[in-house]
């Protein structure tokens, strides 16, 4: 069966810094894959290359067999890869519902309408349903600038989900969330995402989150894949403990 994402020999350098060193990776449909690694290990560079923001120096990236390495973020999104960001990238002067409405417009197959209301009834219902799934229904008409960081994070993920992506990339979904709230937040994300995105890749620093929610872990170190496999095995790997987790878990 063709993997959802297939990466072969991916390389990326920023002058002397090697951000991706011959990365090869397959992600099958339905997997929940966590990317772990210290700062500068190449996780976000990997996400940026997969989503078209950075072009690899060499190597291939295929989505269900189609090469996407040279495509723009817009084209990659249209083909079925969505992402959220470590720092939520929202339209802060717009309301939560308006943010999602923009995402709904982007997910449509036709050109943006000059006259159809951006928050027409069918669309509004869809937006409210999505917000409710994340437990944010009563914040729909609040400007994002007035909302807390954790709420913004959820809206950012909700926006990525509108397109019902084949592959959803989440960049540190629980960063900035308190220790007490992190499982609640992640439970909410996993529950909300489940109907629309079967395959999830998430970058995470918290090993408790990784071991609880991932069914596969890929550990990065200096642009290379240090270990790849079952969370239990990877997190016990001596090199991973030495270079990535520092003995955590």
């Amino acid at each position: 069966m063709t993997p959802v994402l297939s990466v072969r020999g991916l390389e990326k350098r920023f002058d002397a810094v090697v951000a991706a060193d011959a990365l090869s990776l397959d992600i099958a449909a339905g997997q929940k894959v966590s990317l772990i690694g210290a700062n500068g290990a190449g996780k976000t560079t990997f996400v940026n290359m997969v989503t078209g923001y950075l072009k690899p120096d060499s190597g291939s990236i295929a989505l269900e067999g189609m090469d996407i390495a040279k495509r723009s973020p817009r084209n990659v999104a249209r083909l079925g890869i969505s992402r959220s960001f470590q720092i939520p990238q929202l339209f802060i002067e717009l309301t939560a519902a308006e943010n999602l409405s923009v995402a709904v417009s982007g997910a449509g197959t036709r050109a943006l309408s000059f006259h159809s209301p951006a928050e027409g009834h069918g669309r509004r219902d869809k937006v409210l349903e999505l917000l409710a799934r994340f437990g944010l229904g009563d914040l729909a008409d609040r400007p994002v600038s007035e909302l807390a960081g954790g709420v913004r994070k959820l809206i950012d993920i909700a926006m990525a989900l509108v397109r019902r992506p084949k592959l959803l990339l989440l960049d540190e979904p629980t960063s900035g969330v308190s220790a007490e709230e992190k499982f609640v937040t992640m439970d909410r994300v996993i529950h909300a995402v489940a109907p629309d995105a079967a395959t999830i890749v998430f970058v995470e620093h918290d090993m408790e989150i990784v071991s609880r929610y991932a069914d596969r872990v890929v550990a990065f170190y200096l642009g290379r894949i240090l270990a790849d496999g079952d969370p239990h095995d990877v997190l016990k790997d001596a090199e991973v403990r030495r270079y990535v987790t520092g003995g955590a878990q």
């Binding site: 999104a77 982007g106 997910a107 159809s116 009563d138 008409d141």
Partner: protein, 329 residues
């Protein structure tokens, strides 16, 4: 959800504004015509500004519309005000469609300076083109409407007032619908974070180009009204100070409200007329102080006065549940 006036109510308001010209003193008709014409081009700048880009060179399309109408009117004897307005809009729009995709790749100060540079290129070309009257320009005949000629000055002024007010009013209604549409919301999104817009599968360049073309259409139509009001055109239409005046109106108005553009344009014309009358040597100073005052007290423009009030009315109160939720985050 934001609520606004229903388009039918807006149509009635436009009709009422046009008929109001019947009772206005004659001297105010030409002032109101210029205010409506300036509001039309400023409305285009506001539409474009919603994508985060300000054009300092709308004089380019203003002149394209004016010169296009003047040349076609003189060559083919077209005098109908509505047809002239449409010709101006088409001339401006065609130029906008050609230039828009090239400029959409730039943003901020680069975008503004490129528009300014292009308008000055046209200005320079017009000044040097003797076939178009060089720096003196040339004249056109008095406009007609539906085959009717207006020899009486007041009737001629009223006709032009009515056509310009109705045109600008209809453009305002179209802009209101646009602001509430998918494209309108996407424009605000581009203004705030164009990369995120791309990640959502929307081309931010396309959004900017469409808004740019709409602004060019409005500028071209506005140029045709200025031409009809003066019955004369010269390269000054494309000069940077002309473009600056329109930006002035757009800054006064802010980007949140269509009605604010009309208020700002009228306010500017009134301030200019009265300060010119009573302070002939320092009227620019009065205009500057007026603009400073608006920027200081209403940094988001005159429109923020009622947009803020509307938000207060429509935003849900912070309930105990939401407060608790936010506290938990």
């Amino acid at each position: 959800m934001k609520q606004g006036l229903h388009p039918v109510v807006m149509l009635l308001l436009v009709a009422a504004a046009a008929l109001f010209g019947r009772v206005l003193p004659t001297w105010t008709l030409s002032l109101a015509t210029i205010a409506a014409s300036n509001a039309l081009i400023a409305l285009g700048i506001v539409i474009l500004a919603r994508t985060g880009n300000v054009s300092f060179g709308q004089g380019l399309f203003y002149a394209a519309g004016g010169y296009g109408v003047a040349l076609i009117a003189n060559a083919w004897g077209i005098t109908d005000a509505l047809v002239q307005m449409l010709i101006g809009a088409v001339c401006g729009g065609l130029l906008g469609i050609v230039i828009g995709p090239l400029l959409a790749r730039y943003s901020g100060i680069f975008f503004g300076m490129l528009t300014l540079a292009l308008s000055m290129v046209l200005y320079g070309a017009l000044v040097k083109t003797t076939a178009l009257g060089g720096s003196d320009g040339f004249n056109i005949g008095r406009p007609t409407l539906f085959g009717l000629s207006f020899t009486d000055t007041r009737e001629a002024d009223f006709m032009l007032y009515a056509v310009s007010v109705v045109t600008t009013g209809l453009a305002g209604i179209a802009a209101t619908i646009l602001f509430r549409s998918e494209l309108g919301l996407a424009s605000l999104a581009v203004r705030e974070n164009n990369l995120r817009v791309e990640y959502l599968g929307i081309s931010s360049n396309w959004v900017v180009t469409i808004n740019f073309a709409i602004a060019a259409v409005f500028a071209g139509a506005s140029g045709s009204f200025a031409l009809m009001a003066q019955r004369h055109i010269d390269p000054q239409f494309a000069y940077w100070t002309t473009s600056g005046e329109f930006v002035f109106v757009a800054v006064l108005a802010g980007y949140q409200s269509v009605a604010a553009v009309f208020v700002a344009s009228l306010a500017l014309e009134l301030v200019r007329s009265f300060s010119n009358l009573y302070l002939p040597n320092t009227w620019q100073l009065v205009l500057g102080v007026f603009l400073l005052g608006v920027i200081l007290f209403l940094p988001r423009g005159i429109g923020s006065l009622w947009i803020k009030q509307r938000r207060k009315r429509t935003d849900p109160p912070l309930t105990a549940v939401t407060a608790q939720k936010e506290a938990a985050q």
